[in-house]
């Protein structure tokens, strides 16, 4: 039995799980990190990372078989042949959509840290105060000052490149040198600044791609193949960053193929004593014991683990006493924006493939402005030159047409919005006991949708994009929008929210489950609101902060 006993257990190996493992092991705790899927070894298992585009059988496209096998993934860009192995097998792990919810999952070592978008932004007090001010959901039990040092801690280790722009709503961080804007982006930026002065900002994206060597990782080589796994370790992932750091302590054990089915709750001590694991390969059940459990299975699956635990005490599972577990599902709504053509710069091109773009931070509903919706949105975008000339009306076939295909085409500029979604109690995930996955476990049912506030915001998101591009000199601007679908932002949040009161929240200010103080949830589940910034940097900071607290409490004998 003693081989199954550790100081700490971490459930999940994605961005927040990797951080929990790193922080806990560096503080001396013998830790086991449980990953439900297969192992993916850094560099060695990035099988497609060094292939040219022509080496893929369908040049990166999707086959009919892939479309049949991945009915959810096919709904957006993730389904492609270059990294198919990184996405969850939907036949083995189904879920029920009461309303359409695009759940794009990665069940393997590193989780979605291998495929994430890497944009990394701090929150502002405006974000932490929003729920209180609007009387919505639950007030965040922390403010910016509580997280600021942990943002620094996360940025310094992860390696975030960015410019210190001095934008009030988007605090500057401890950045590596920023990536360059291309000539068209610089031109748009200049006109943008001339028009909007300091009311709106147009900045280079802040991304978890390192621009100088860092911790035995090579700086970004501008391959733009991040979603395949980086042989240079240039973007932050569990494999490139937190896992090697945790392994170096000698305190980490990693166990792939380990589906945590429940947290073992001890009624007498009112604490967790460990977890039950189903081996995904052998179907055998094991128990692991520890003083601390970190739940980092991704927002919806962390809720699943809690809902499946301590059901003899609380029917709705561990952490359900508030009635909020599994509720308040949030994401960022997107799929709305604008694009157009840039005149000039025909003699310029870009060399290298920059896996980053520009960012326009939130400007709506600030400084006293009141739209017909609350909160706001930001934009990601960029300028690029088409690879070949498409406006060759007279040349349709033949040798000259063939030659024209290798001429650079026109410069374009496009951008899309990322909008905040509100925490609605009725947007929820719950156990669907009528259906089982491959391992006989109950699956999740998800019942969540965008509502009036998001829909009204989207009108601004589309019209503002057009207006800003036109004011910045972009020609022939076209707008686009779409039916907002939750999940599509791949930023699931809110299912075990933090709060000040155990009656209205699942976690306290230190990410501790109110009902079991040695259980910490530090992934997207913990979020009390969504803001509009990409959330992963905040998960990293919350995780490091909670781990620090957990170890201190452990040493004091409080947990």
């Amino acid at each position: 039995m003693s081989n199954n006993t550790y100081d700490a257990i971490v459930i999940g190996s994605g961005i927040s799980g990797g951080w929990a493992a790193k922080e806990l092991t560096e503080k001396g705790l013998k830790t086991i990190m449980l990953e439900r899927g297969k192992n993916i070894e850094h560099i060695k298992d990035y099988v497609n990372a060094n292939k040219g585009p022509w080496e893929f059988e369908h040049r990166g496209g999707r086959t009919q078989k892939m479309i049949e096998d991945y009915p959810v993934l096919k709904r957006d860009y993730p389904l492609n042949e270059t990294n198919l192995d990184y996405w969850t097998n939907e036949k083995e792990s189904p879920y029920t959509e009461i309303k359409r919810f695009d759940w794009f999952r990665g069940y393997h070592m590193g989780g979605r840290s291998l495929m994430w978008g890497r944009q990394s932004y701090r929150w502002h007090d405006t974000d932490f105060e929003a729920n209180l001010k609007d009387g919505i959901g639950t007030d965040w039990p922390i403010r910016y000052k509580d997280l600021a040092p942990w943002y620094s801690h996360a940025e310094k280790f992860a390696g975030i490149s960015g410019n210190r722009d001095g934008v009030p709503i988007l605090p500057d961080g401890d950045f590596m040198p920023p990536m360059d804007m291309n000539i068209v982006e610089k031109d748009v930026q200049k006109r943008f600044k001339d028009f909007y002065k300091d009311a709106r900002h147009f900045i280079i994206g802040r991304t978890a791609n390192i621009t100088v060597p860092h911790n035995n990782r090579t700086n970004c080589q501008y391959r733009n193949k991040c979603w395949l796994g980086c042989p240079f370790g240039a973007y932050f992932s569990t494999q490139s960053a937190t896992l090697p750091a945790a392994m170096a302590t000698g305190n980490l054990t990693v166990r792939p193929w380990s589906i945590v089915t429940k947290i073992l709750y001890d009624k007498d001590t009112k604490k967790a004593k460990g977890v039950e694991v189903l081996d995904a390969e052998t179907n055998k059940t094991y128990e692991f014991y520890a003083k601390i459990v970190f739940v980092n299975a991704s927002a919806l699956n962390s809720a699943w683990v809690l809902m499946n635990s301590a059901t003899d005490v609380w029917e709705g599972g561990l952490g359900s006493s508030s009635g909020e577990l599994g509720h308040n599902v949030m994401d960022h709504h997107l799929g709305v924006g604008a694009g157009g053509r840039i005149e000039g710069f025909e003699d310029k091109y870009t060399f290298g493939r920059r896996a980053n773009g520009i960012y326009i931070p939130r400007y709506r509903n600030l400084n006293g402005e009141k739209r017909d919706y609350i909160r706001g949105f930001g934009y990601q975008g960029g300028g690029s030159r088409e690879g070949w000339s498409r406006d060759i009306a007279e040349l349709n076939i033949g040798g000259s047409f063939k030659d024209a295909l290798s001429e650079p085409g026109s410069w374009n500029f496009g951008m899309g919005g990322f909008g905040e979604t509100l925490p609605y109690h009725e947007n929820r995930a719950y156990l669907d006991k009528t259906k089982k996955d491959k391992w006989g476990l109950p699956i999740l049912a998800i019942d969540a949708e965008c509502k009036d506030n998001e829909r009204k915001m989207r009108i601004d998101m589309m019209n503002d994009a057009k207006e800003m591009l036109e004011n910045a000199g972009v020609k022939d601007v076209n707008t686009y929008t779409s039916e907002p679908v939750l999940g599509r932002g791949i930023h699931e949040m809110g299912t075990a929210r933090m709060g000040r009161d155990p009656k209205s929240s699942v976690l306290n200010e230190w990410n501790q489950v109110w009902d079991a103080k040695n259980v910490f949830v530090t992934d997207g589940a913990a979020m009390a609101s969504a803001a509009c910034q990409n959330p992963s940097l905040t998960y990293m900071a919350l995780t490091a902060r909670a781990a620090d607290y957990a170890v201190k409490e452990l040493k004091k004998g409080n947990i």
Partner: protein, 184 residues
Amino acid sequence: MNRRAAIRNMALIMGSAVVLPSCLHDDKGKAVVELKHLKIDADQEKLVNSLTETILPKTDTPGAAELGINLFVFKMLDDCTSKEQQADFITGLGGFADEAKKQMGKSFADGTDKERTAFVTQMEQHSKDKNYKDNAKSMAFYQMVKGQTIFGYTTSKFFMTKQVVYELVPGRYNAMYPAKKAMA
């Protein structure tokens, strides 16, 4: 065929630019290209092969046939299109063949470069004429082949290494690179 082998074979096809001569067709008129779903005969295969070469002919640089783009077009149609699209492809192919024969007095594949180019140029003109609806099926077939031909060409090793600068590891980002150099 497992994935690794498939990719290796594809790389061989794309890299070595081997086009099997027509004498390798057997007597039953069976197509040479191996397909899993799409059913085509030797004449249909020849038509698609010569159509891709008409769209992107050999000049002082290789054409579609030399680069194996025709095989790529079949691969994509076979693996990446639905049954309905494949049925439309076959129907459209038949229409295209009939129209070509009527106009050229011989099969499309047997036409000279000039005759084939004239016929396809006419297709292009029809495609721009909104009132012209006589050949919707053969037009759809043509657009499918053309789209995949261009996609196959612009993502081929030849194109990406010889026609435009593609480096697997650029190592840097130059935001103001002279266009002429990029298009060496």
